[in-house]
């Protein structure tokens, strides 16, 4: 039995500004139809967690939002503008407002932590002096609690530290939207909790809107304002953690056991 807990937006949601709007998003790789018509609205200041089995197209959905994957069909509205047919220049103007934390953190391994952060600032904040740039880097490292790692190389960092520095790199341009691709994967329970708390902290301090792809139910519980569940290339159901935890749908229930 499929549940559709939030099928009709509440009056409150209708009044809120949808900062991301995905309509009928479809994507295939050869004969494999990954996304078969995803519809999703994310409202300003909201943290939406996307759950689903591996290979269900969760990461592809957020990669479409930053133009890393071109959808076959559908509409992707970010800040009210459909970005599907944007050229590179237009897409880049949107990308600077979106932070993306990769599953592997994707730190540039030939650069130190400082260089990883400066690499982006030097290209997008040319108005900053060297001292201001240094201060921005230290500020963002302070917000992830890793000022002491500024001169370390990525190979000297633990998995949790890499995720934090990856997060610092996404925050350096002060994005309005942050997309997290499995932020706690491969981390121990304590570090996973720290990362989940950091996500919440960033949301409260920076007033960001986020989509969090995860398999970690503890992370989902801590961070989600709303959870959407992806099954067979479409949104199967959505609701708050508590609502979904009580669902009678066997497939939904399997995630919350």
């Amino acid at each position: 039995m499929e549940t559709q807990i939030h099928e009709i937006p509440t009056q409150n949601e209708q009044k809120k500004e949808a900062i991301i709007e995905i309509n009928d998003l479809q994507k295939s790789f050869g004969k494999n139809d990954v996304l078969k018509g995803v519809n999703l609205k994310v409202f300003k200041g909201e943290d939406v967690v996307v759950l689903g089995r591996s290979g269900s197209g969760k990461s592809i959905t957020i990669k479409c939002l930053v133009g890393l994957v071109k959808p076959d069909k559908g509409e992707l509205k970010v800040f009210g503008e459909d970005i599907v047919n944007y050229n590179l220049e237009e897409l880049n103007a949107v990308r600077v407002k979106i932070g993306f934390l990769f599953q592997s953190a994707a730190l540039y391994d030939s650069m130190s932590v400082r260089q990883n952060l400066a690499f982006i600032l030097q290209r997008h904040r040319k108005d900053l002096s060297a001292a201001e740039m240094k201060s921005e880097i230290m500020d963002v490292l302070e917000s992830v609690g890793l000022e002491e790692a500024v001169d370390k190389m990525p190979s000297e960092l633990s998995g949790g530290m890499k995720k934090r520095i990856g997060l610092a790199r996404t925050l350096i341009l002060k994005p309005e939207i942050i997309l997290y691709d499995e932020p706690t994967t491969g981390l121990d329970t304590i570090t996973s909790k720290e990362i989940s708390d950091l996500i919440l902290d960033i949301k409260h301090k920076r007033k960001t809107t986020s989509i969090i792809i995860t398999h970690d139910m503890d992370c989902a519980k801590r961070t989600a304002d709303r959870i959407v569940m992806l099954k067979d290339g479409v949104i199967h159901t959505e609701g708050t953690y508590d609502e979904l935890a009580k669902s009678e749908d066997e497939w939904v229930n399997a995630f919350f056991k």
Partner: protein, 266 residues
């Protein structure tokens, strides 16, 4: 009879699929290379990365190129000497060594060494960046990874390999001088005078021009293979290996074309 016909058609289909894949690959490399010329003059100019690559590709390859160049000159002299002596033409040895090195051996061997060292290095580096999503990370940060990674490396190989070839020429000629002095006595001044007497300006120009093409393709093939590595660590090794094989083959093809053109016009 039916079995033979079946086999004939099967071989034909395999050949067609093979050729189709090869033509597709050539098309992909051409488009990838065309993008280089489109983005070469588009800001931002990544000068710091370009100079870093010049240092890595040029300066760090210099010892290998110098040692190889010296051995090439020495061995070429020692191997050619007995034949020339038997014709009483030992005095032609410096000229022959200089001409062979400058026109053919130094450019091709240096380019092949660079294909092995530089092209594979670039292929592995970019391949590993691709599979660990570092290239995607640049893209989502609104930084053009092609401009930062490909343009700088290809430009550096295009400019550095001709310089490395000049070093290989010079050291190779000196290696020839050492080789001459193993069996007979000749002063450096006289040896060099004989080398440069037999050389014309037109020997140097086509040989130098082709080294720019060698450099371009050594960088471009390494970048293409790395940039297009599929996901998975095994593809990093494949990218490095494929970069060396393809770049080496292209060096020989360019050399063959260069010789034909030189024959036509010089």
């Amino acid at each position: 009879m039916i079995y033979a016909t079946y086999n004939h058609y099967l071989n034909l289909i395999i050949l067609i699929v093979y050729l189709k894949n090869k033509f597709e690959a050539i098309g992909d490399v051409t488009l990838f290379s065309w993008r280089f010329f489109k983005e070469l003059f588009v800001p931002p100019y990544e000068l710091k990365e370009f100079f870093k690559q010049c240092y890595i590709i040029g300066y760090k390859s210099l010892p290998l190129v110098v040692i190889t160049g010296f051995i090439m000159g020495l061995v070429l002299t020692l191997q050619s000497r007995p034949t020339l002596v038997s014709f009483g033409a030992e005095s032609w040895l410096p000229g022959m060594v200089g001409l062979s090195l400058i026109r053919e051996i130094a450019p091709v061997i240096t380019a092949l060494i660079c294909a092995g060292k530089i092209s594979s290095g670039i292929g592995a580096e970019l391949g590993s960046m691709k599979v660990t999503e570092q290239i995607d990370a640049m893209e989502v940060s609104a930084i053009n990874p092609y401009n930062y990674l490909v343009v700088t490396r290809v430009l550096a190989t295009t400019l550095m390999i001709p310089i490395l070839v000049i070093f290989a020429d010079a050291v190779g000629i000196f290696g020839g001088y050492v080789g001459m002095n193993i069996h007979s006595k000749i002063t450096l001044y006289r040896y060099l005078a004989q080398v440069f007497d037999s050389l014309e300006f037109l020997d140097i120009i086509p040989a130098t021009i082709k080294t720019f093409f060698f450099g371009f393709f050594v960088g471009m093939i390494g970048c293409y293979e790395g940039y297009n590595a599929s996901n998975g660590t095994a593809s990093v090794g494949r990218a490095a290996n494929s970069a060396v094989v393809t770049a080496s083959l292209i060096i020989f093809i360019i050399d063959m074309i260069a010789v034909q053109i030189t024959d036509l016009f010089f």
